[in-house]
């Protein structure tokens, strides 16, 4: 049976399983003091360096990266041809009002404040966050962290401030987890990066409350290229959350971030993303963490928005007994392609990794899982578990799975499993018998599908997720 044909269900199902995409769909007039114009040349790079007053090594780094970006071909030999629709010449690579990030919301310009008020950021900060950074186009508008944490040595600032004022901590790890030449888009980011967070958590400090960053695109044709580096020193622990929205413009917008995580011996980093870009954003992000001895890096990833997302968070397990994990939920609606996955690179003995991915394709949406697991020869005791489940809602929905697993030597264990299913007629019938209408039944079934993963997300935070999943309601319905 096809759900396209029942029109009762069509609207109701859509409402039940869709999320509020209009929340982020508003914009304010641009008032940029600095604008790098359209297109990308070495003059653009110099302009950004001049505005940001970059040290020489950063300027040089950017120019080298630009060269790499220009030389590298588009990865369309394996990725979707939709990438060819990105016009690098109309994108605006840097926009800012020239203001420093404010420590207090009172100092933030009224329209920017209103933007973040409408997204609920200041209110969430008061409620449960240890620190917040809010980025508006290229630069952070607001950045603050609780005072007692600063006293304990926590650094939470934007990348520009990080590379200038904390060069001794920043520079040794910058571009080391993800080298410039890793892929075309990491090179692009390295050439024009601006904004993003730099975080350092000192030895043994375990943050009880999460830190949050919020990324907002306000201007049409704008490319956001934030760069985040998080270092958790020995035994430190933190949770970092990022949210993203953009208004729906007529033309495509590009978001291409690079996120590097460093978990030193025994440290633990959890990185949570709820991506709800509007459906004309190309979201091409490189995220990778390195985990030293006994350290743990977890990526918890939810992709709801964007036109095309290509994101494969990775963990390099460099120290013995290190652990890597990727938990991901993707929802692809008509006009969307969620191409997500995970990379697990085992580089030490007794390292373990886990990948759990669930995707839902609605309408003509397409979701793809792409994974890589690599266990080289000289190691022993490495383990990987990969599970991918896909749910198809309509008859034109699409899902693909492309894992690649390399195991060398006989002292390891890997397992990969994937399944594709849809909500069965029997299941819907059963629930309808108990008084639910078809739409509610569908919603309940979808909730059940992703329920176990949703538990991994901090509930207070997942405003967007809440409507999708409605965890609290689940017990009380029916």
């Amino acid at each position: 049976m096809s759900y396209d044909t029942t029109d009762v269900l069509d609207t109701e199902t859509r409402e039940a399983i869709d999320i509020d995409r209009t929340k982020g769909d508003f914009t304010f007039p641009e008032r940029n003091k600095f604008d790098a114009g359209r297109g990308l040349t070495s003059a653009t790079v110099d302009y950004i360096s001049d505005v940001k007053n970059d040290p020489d090594w950063v300027r040089e780094f950017r120019h080298k990266a630009l060269k790499v970006f220009q030389d590298k071909p588009m990865p369309t030999n394996w990725a979707t041809k939709d990438l060819e629709n990105i016009d690098f010449d109309v994108i605006r690579y840097y926009l800012s009002d020239g203001e420093k990030p404010k420590r207090s919301w009172d100092d933030v310009p009224a329209d920017v404040l209103e933007t973040f008020e409408r997204l609920g950021i200041p209110q969430q900060e008061r409620a449960f966050l240890a620190g917040v950074e809010a980025q508006f186009d290229s630069e952070a508008a607001y950045s603050n962290v609780k005072e007692e944490l600063t006293k304990q040595g926590v650094i939470f600032c934007n990348s520009t401030e990080g590379l200038k004022e904390h060069e001794e901590i920043f520079r040794p790890w910058f571009g080391k987890v993800i080298p410039t030449g890793d892929n075309k888009f990491s090179a692009l980011n390295s050439a024009v990066f601006s904004g993003g967070s730099f975080i350092y958590i000192p030895k043994g400090l375990k943050l009880k409350q999460p830190l949050q960053a919020y990324f907002r695109i306000n201007s049409e044709n704008f490319g956001q290229f934030e760069r985040t580096l998080i270092i958790a020193d020995e035994g430190a622990e933190l949770m970092y959350m990022e949210g993203c929205t953009a208004p729906k413009f007529e033309t495509a917008t590009l978001h291409s971030a690079v996120v590097e995580l460093v978990a030193l011996k025994g440290a633990k980093i959890q990185y949570v993303t709820v991506q709800n870009w509007s459906s004309n954003v190309f979201n091409l992000v490189t995220k990778r963490g390195i985990a030293m001895e006994d350290a743990e890096v977890r990526w918890i990833d939810c992709n709801i928005g964007s036109r095309l997302t290509m994101k494969y968070p990775g963990v390099i397990m460099k120290g013995k007994r290190a652990r890597g994990e990727v938990i991901s939920i993707a929802l692809a609606n008509t006009g969307q392609h969620q191409d997500t996955g995970a990379k697990m690179i085992h580089a030490a003995d007794d390292t373990t990794s886990n990948v759990v991915s669930k995707s839902i394709s609605v309408g003509e949406g397409r979701s793809t899982y792409r994974g890589q697991v690599h266990i080289p020869k000289h190691l022993k005791g490495c383990k990987n578990n990969t599970e991918c489940d896909a749910l198809l809602i309509n008859s034109h929905s699409r899902t693909d799975t492309y894992p690649a697993i390399t195991v060398k030597g006989n002292r390891h264990a890997t397992q990969h499993e994937a399944s594709v299913s849809q909500v069965s007629d029997e299941m819907l019938f059963y629930m309808q018998q108990r008084g639910l209408n078809e739409g509610q039944a569908m919603s309940l079934a979808v909730n059940g599908f992703i329920n176990d993963l949703v538990r991994e997300f901090p509930m207070e935070y997942s405003v967007e997720l809440k409507r999708l999943i409605d965890l609290e309601m689940e017990g009380s319905v029916g």
Binding site: H396, T406, T414, S419
Partner: protein
């Protein structure tokens, strides 16, 4: 002795000539294929269909066709089933022996003869599908160069008892063969064919670019078993294409024990509702053997079933690549498709690469794939040791049991016993040098 030693030309240098007695359509197909071979670029690093592959294995210069020799010796060595329904022996693609107890209504002929006597029938089925798993260039080379093979056609409602058996031998250094097997079953018919590939000698390098084309008619049952046991200096490309009509059922099985490098490409097209395709393989690589297997389960029709089970036991420095894709066309609802690849790692220097993939464009689909790589656990060895079995023997027993599991899906005792003999030969070979 001639004053000048005349070297026969390498297979890559000159266009092969189609013998004049073969039909014109076939000659023009061969010429077109040769042009296609020349025009198709060679696979290169970065091609998704050759990911993890050793591209350097694809240098086939220096191989040439050779006439059959040592014929009587090889006929004597061509042991297989106790009582096959028909038996054909090819040496360097030349038919050297044939016996048949087949009923009327079955055409079982060397391809060169069938091309003359059943030209239209062969033309209707000969290499109809597009090779899409990476070896299009070599499929074209095969089509241009083939001189013989096996053609089997079973009439409607005829169920063939027993098994048709074909032996394919390579003789002589740097010899290339192009074995071709084309099997067509009519409505509600049944047939089983076994191809056995071997080298006359233990050390002379050879090359086989083989193709088997299976077309299962409505409600028919077609079982095909390929046993690849060439010597460890030989390279192999083997391309399988299977098409199943409504309610038809096809089994394609391949055993890999020989060759230094083997590439298998298996494509099943499920063209009718209620049809079923079982894709099975056992591979036991040792030393530096490398097996590169690519599969494609193409659900064109709704309501079809496909099930793939590939098992590899890897010894020494061997290497395997498995890349499988389940592809469900738009509209192919109510598809059941399964894909499993299991790697048993028997040494600490072997390497298993798995790329199990899914592309689903329909709903009401049941699909799953799984891939595992693991070693034998110490507990299992301990259990057998406790029963007085030496550790080396215990490992062998478990590896054998691991492989045999696939074999049982053939559901034919004689063929299972034949395949098992080749599996045991390989295990003996591995055990004899203390692995």
């Amino acid at each position: 002795m001639p004053a000048v030693l005349e070297q026969s030309p390498s297979l890559l240098e000159t266009a092969p000539e189609t013998p004049a007695y073969l039909p014109a359509w076939f000659a023009s197909r061969q010429q077109a294929a040769w042009q296609r071979f020349l025009a198709t670029p060679a696979p290169k690093r970065g091609d998704e269909t050759w990911r993890f592959s050793s591209i350097k294995q694809l240098d086939f210069s220096g191989f040439q066709k050779a006439p059959a020799t040592s014929v009587n010796e090889l006929i004597a060595r061509s042991t297989g089933l106790e009582a096959p329904a028909a038996k054909l022996i090819f040496v360097n693609d030349e038919l050297v022996h044939v016996e048949s107890h087949l009923p009327e209504g079955v055409i079982c002929l060397p391809l060169a003869e069938a091309l003359v006597s059943h030209s239209d029938l062969v033309q209707a089925h000969f290499m109809r599908q597009e090779t899409r798993l990476g070896s299009a260039k070599f499929a074209a080379l095969h089509e241009a160069s083939l001189t013989n093979g096996l053609f089997v056609h079973v009439s409607d409602k005829l169920e063939v008892e027993g098994t048709i058996e074909a032996h394919h031998w390579i003789v002589g250094e740097n010899t290339v063969i192009f074995p071709h097997t084309l099997i067509v079953t009519g409505k509600s018919s049944k047939v089983r064919v076994v191809d056995i590939f071997r080298s006359a000698d233990d050390s002379q390098p050879g090359l086989a670019i083989a193709f088997n084309d299976l077309s299962a008619g409505q409600n028919s049952k077609l079982d095909y078993v390929a046993i690849q046991a060439f010597n460890e200096a030989t390279r192999v490309i083997q391309i399988n294409e299977t098409a199943t009509s409504r309610d038809a059922s096809a089994i394609g099985f391949i055993l890999n024990t020989g060759a230094s490098w083997a590439r298998n490409e298996s494509l099943s097209r499920l063209e009718g509702p209620g049809s079923r395709s079982d894709m099975l393989s056992i591979s036991i690589p040792a030393h530096e053997q490398e097996y590169d297997q690519r599969t494609f389960q193409h659900h064109v029709s709704e309501g079809a079933y496909s099930d793939l089970l590939y098992k590899n036991s890897l010894y020494d420095d061997s290497r395997t690549i498995f890349s499988g894709l389940i592809f469900v066309d738009e509209g192919a609802h109510h598809t059941d498709a399964y894909q499993t690849c299991r790697n048993l790692l028997m040494s600490d220097t072997c390497e298993a690469n798995s790329m199990p993939g899914l592309e689903i464009n329909a709903d009401q689909v049941k699909c799953s794939h799984g891939s595992t790589s693991s070693q034998i656990s110490d507990e299992e060895i301990f259990y057998l040791c406790a029963r007085g079995i030496a550790p080396a023997q215990a490992r062998q027993l478990i590896a054998r049991g691991f492989s045999v599991d696939v074999l049982e899906r053939l559901k034919n005792d004689e063929v299972e016993a034949l395949v098992l003999k080749f599996i045991d030969d390989k295990f003996d070979h591995i055990a004899s040098r203390g692995a």
